[in-house]
């Protein structure tokens, strides 16, 4: 599973990266801090899951999310935010998760396991790779 993160040093980013790298099913993690670069990579590589930071003036998070869904609607989006006021917008975009900072490990795990479950379920060829 490929996971890309659009963030520039926001709170909880370290935790996300650490937790992801501890997971045996995650084959690639990239952290990108520019929306245009991020989208380019998403378009070329079609990751299974992306995390996008909200509430950072330099990152048009919701708009980027919408564009990720336009690239391929099956790419799962999780927004990361310090505030809860974008949750409704996140649903409009078609997000699959919304992590409020400080991020709780339990909630992160729940999102990741749902993502894995649905990704593997949708992609038969990956079933053999599943380690859980």
């Amino acid at each position: 599973m490929k996971v890309y993160i659009l963030d520039s040093g926001g709170s909880g980013l370290d935790k996300i990266v650490t937790w992801l790298s501890e997971d045996i099913d995650i084959k690639e993690i990239s952290v990108i801090n520019r929306a245009d670069e991020f989208l380019k990579k998403v378009k070329n590589e079609h990751p299974e899951l992306v995390f996008i930071r909200l509430g950072n003036d330099d990152i048009p998070g919701l708009k980027t999310g919408r564009m990720v869904k336009d690239v391929k609607s099956g790419i799962r989006i999780v927004f990361v935010s310090e505030e809860n006021d974008h949750a409704l917008d996140a649903y409009e975009v078609g997000a699959n998760g919304y992590l409020l900072c400080p991020i709780e490990k339990k909630k992160f795990d729940s999102i990741l396991s749902k993502a894995k479950q649905e990704t593997y379920c949708n992609n038969g060829s990956m079933k053999g790779d599943a380690k859980w």
Binding site: S73, N84, A87, L88, Y91, G97, Y98, K114, E118
Partner: protein, 366 residues
């Protein structure tokens, strides 16, 4: 087909939702409940793909109800429908597939239905392929990557296009006959209409397009399922442009417009809409060319404006921008050449001279 259960403690709201959802041929309503406990019990037995749930129920909070539903039917997707926005985070924590604020609009509900369909197609291999319907440029229908459908006669094709043009709305027999068989005997026209519908249904069947994708009801109402239709995408883009004015939407809308609506046909009934869409496209070209110019992408801007000019040479804002572009890029020769072409067309086709503003831009070129 997506099987759903509706739960809302208010009967009128439940009926309202039923009314909205009945418009989607791909949705099948298994049951509707005002009593959440009874609903949960039923959901446990029938395991629907989705439950539409109102969150403000006195007997049981919506979030708790959702969590109990997931306990007994973990693969069921929850769609919250609510008048409150404060539960959206909790909805995410329950992995609810959608969260809709009241009042529910058909457009918003379409999004939800598409999400459910998409999930279903992802979990059912082989059904991922989408039916493509192209109305911009040559009118064609085909399965992704396959040859386009051939119609028995030109009239059958036109009849299908007519129903598609009015999709979601019932059209009367008289309306269809007036549009497609305006001359001749009414009995013959009725006969041809019946035959036409018969052949359309046969053709769809032969191509494996079932009623969840394209459905024509007895009262001549076409309903579409999860299809990939350029004109809907174009209109969605235009709506987003109006709201956000984002360059990516402009680019997408520009690339979707492969030609006029039902290009190459002389179908009078589509004429007004063809012009409306064509004008929308002119606006997109102008906005996009303008943005490109701001971003100093002059070549791209010129290419767009020339394309726009070839399509509609009378739109003076296109020539205005083009001359501005030649002025900025110090290309007087091109400016003069374009101006004279523009002047000639105006003179010849409508007998008028270029506007003062355009003349002024030309004069200001060094």
């Amino acid at each position: 087909m997506i099987e759903v259960v509706l739960v809302d403690d208010e009967r009128p709201a439940l009926r309202g939702l039923e009314h909205l959802l009945k418009k989607y041929s791909e949705i099948s309503i298994l049951g509707m409940y005002t009593n959440p406990l009874k609903a949960i019990d039923e959901i446990g037995k029938r395991k629907p793909q989705a439950v539409f749930l109102d969150i403000n129920m006195p007997q049981l909070q919506g979030v708790d109800a959702a969590s109990r539903i997931l306990d007994i039917s973990p693969d069921t997707d929850i769609v919250f429908i609510t008048a409150f926005d404060q539960y959206a985070i909790e909805a995410f924590e329950l992995h609810a597939i959608d969260y809709i604020l009241k009042p529910v609009t058909p457009d918003r509900l379409r999004k939800t239905v598409n999400r459910l369909l998409e999930k279903k197609s992802l979990t059912m291999p082989g059904s991922v392929q989408k039916l493509q319907i192209n109305c911009l440029g040559k009118f064609q229908i085909c399965w992704e990557g396959q040859e386009s459908i051939k119609w028995r006669t030109e009239k059958t094709r036109q009849l299908f296009a007519f129903l598609l043009h009015h999709q979601g709305r019932e059209v009367s027999k008289d309306e269809i006959i007036d549009a497609l068989w305006p001359e001749g005997k009414i009995e013959k026209a009725v006969h041809q209409l019946h035959n036409g519908i018969y052949y359309i249904r046969k053709t769809l069947e032969r191509h494996g397009i079932d009623r969840s994708i394209v459905n024509i009801s007895g009262s001549y109402c076409m309903k579409l399922g999860n299809v990939d239709m350029d004109i809907s995408k174009f209109n969605e883009c235009c709506a987003r442009i109006k709201k956000y004015n984002d360059i990516h939407d402009l680019k997408e809308a520009e690339s979707l417009y492969k030609g006029d609506y039902f290009e190459g046909t002389d179908w009078v009934w589509s004429e007004i809409y063809r012009q409306t869409i064509s004008r929308k496209y002119d606006e997109i070209i102008i906005k996009l060319a303008d943005s490109c110019m701001d971003a100093k992408e002059y070549d791209q801007s010129e290419e767009l404006l020339l394309k726009g000019f070839n399509k509609n040479p009378y739109e003076e804002r296109i020539t205005e921008l083009l001359l501005m572009l030649y002025k900025i890029t110090n290309n007087k020769a091109k400016g003069i050449k374009h101006f004279s072409k523009y002047k000639k067309i105006l003179q010849k086709d409508i007998g008028i001279k270029p506007g003062k503003k355009i003349q002024k831009i030309l004069d200001s070129m060094k």
